[in-house]
């Protein structure tokens, strides 16, 4: 098998492929695969890491001379992210602090709670988020990549970019200011429960980060074949 890595396909970094068993899945940038055949303009490969490890899939070639599955990629050791709930601050790879928060509020009688303190593996992303609002493209090309906390595929706490947090670790795209005109695409923010947008803000102002930079830091890293690194929540 010829070891390759998923290249950046669409603007959001995901490559859509067809499973040999039928159906379609999306693979994240830099995911390791093993190409075992090429015929009829398609490359056939085994997925070597992540949620679909061991599954066989195929994708057509980008052009006659170009493939979506590339060589020359060296994955880096697992990344390190730290998040302080009280300070609403996040650090990664020696950078930070950057503005981030974990929401806590009640909706229809159900409570959304902050992510509990602890150490969490950050999962290799298994699929792009299909419901983030298009206005996030103004802030981050990779806003559809959410890193799941923990190694279970059923938990639904994520590290992601956003303005609203339902108990995830949410890296702010911008800081909402109720005294200023509404940001296009985010006119609903003033109507949301304060806890969903991380208000009241902490006394110390934390600078904004760049989600695409954090994405780029994590997406090429591996702690093991299921994880890009570790998030410590304080």
């Amino acid at each position: 098998m010829d070891t390759r890595y998923v290249s950046k396909a669409g603007r959001d970094g995901w490559l859509t492929v067809r499973l040999e068993s039928g159906g379609e899945i999306s693979l994240p940038q830099f995911l390791k695969v093993g190409v075992y055949d090429e015929k009829g303009g398609r490359e056939y490969f085994e997925i070597l890491e992540g949620a679909y490890k061991g599954r066989k899939a195929s994708v057509k070639r980008k052009t006659a001379s170009e493939s979506y599955l590339i060589t020359g990629i060296t994955q880096l050791p697992g990344g390190s992210v730290r998040f302080d709930r009280a300070k609403q601050a996040l650090w990664y790879g020696g950078k930070g602090p950057y503005s981030a928060f974990s929401g806590a509020f009640t909706y229809q009688g159900a409570s959304f709670t902050q992510v509990p303190p602890g150490s969490y593996p950050l999962q290799v992303p298994d699929a792009p988020h299909s419901a983030t609002r298009p206005a996030y493209y103004s802030y981050a090309d990779y806003h559809k990549t959410w890193f799941r906390l923990g190694l279970s595929l059923t938990g639904s706490r994520f590290l992601h970019v956003g303005e609203i947090s339902e108990g995830c670790v949410t890296v702010r795209a911008f800081v909402f200011d109720p005294a200023k005109p509404a940001v296009p695409g985010f006119e609903d923010l003033p109507k949301l429960p304060a806890g969903a947008i991380g208000r009241p803000y902490p006394a110390a102002t934390i600078p904004l980060g760049d989600w695409d930079d954090l994405y780029s830091y994590l997406i090429i890293r591996r702690a093991n074949d299921q994880s890009v690194g570790t998030l410590v929540v304080q």
Binding site: S111, A127, S130, A131, P134, S138, Y139, A140, G155
Partner: protein, 226 residues
């Protein structure tokens, strides 16, 4: 920051011509992954725009049929020029075609996920979309809440006659416990009549109906949050 404009996406949404009504917290879940504007994407995008334009006055079921036929006509879409957009449009339509009828009220699902397979142990949706079942779409947080009428013991799943999909399973769980990874419990049902006793005892329940359609999108996960 301010790197890019979302104008094209909103324009595409406006072109969708899909009118949702019902006031039950329906929000469009149309979304695009915005494939690159390479020449490979231009043709299918133009075909989709033409289809959507032509379908504006058709019924939901006919629009759905056309969209599914279109999806099958683009079997390969590595850069996601149109697939996620089509799935988003299909989801918007499906939320009007499958509803829960409880005590005289029709409740539309908050979200529909499309899945190639359903994990038999966790009911996780496997496929091209992230399964975020316990999370409420952020644009739905400001919609009027949907409440299960008190003392309702059963609910009827109403499926539009032309919508060809069968119920595979019905599940429920408390939102918080689902978010922390606990699997939902099975809800008894006979054909499309659901027993609500387990749901009524939950705080912040989510009702999940998994259906299998006879089309290339295979499984659907309809989710109601109460």
């Amino acid at each position: 920051m301010g790197k890019h404009s979302g104008t094209m996406t909103w324009l595409a949404l406006a072109l969708a011509g899909v009118v949702l009504s019902g006031g039950e917290g329906l929000e469009t879940r149309v979304n695009q992954r915005q494939g690159t504007d390479s020449s490979g994407c231009a043709a299918p995008k133009a075909r989709l725009a033409t289809l959507v334009d032509a379908d504006q006055r058709k019924s939901s079921t006919l629009q759905l049929k056309d969209l599914l036929r279109f999806l099958d006509s683009v079997p390969d879409d590595p850069e996601d020029c149109v697939h996620s957009e089509v799935r988003g449009r299909v989801g918007v339509l499906e939320r009007t075609l499958v509803t829960l009828r409880v005590a005289g009220k029709s409740l539309h699902p908050q979200k529909v996920l499309h899945c190639d397979a359903i994990n038999p142990d966790t009911e996780r949706c496997e496929g091209p979309e992230l399964d975020d079942t316990p999370l409420v779409d952020e644009r739905s947080l400001t919609s009027p809440p949907q409440m299960l009428p008190r003392n309702a013991t059963t609910a009827k799943l109403e499926i539009a006659p032309m919508y060809r999909a069968e119920i595979v399973g019905v599940y429920a769980g408390e939102r918080g416990s689902l978010q922390d990874g606990r699997p939902p419990v099975r809800i008894p049902h006979q054909e499309n009549i659901l027993q609500l006793s387990k749901v009524n005892s939950m705080t912040g329940p989510m009702l999940i109906v998994i259906m299998h359609g006879d089309d290339s999108l295979k499984f659907r996960k309809f989710v109601w949050a109460f």
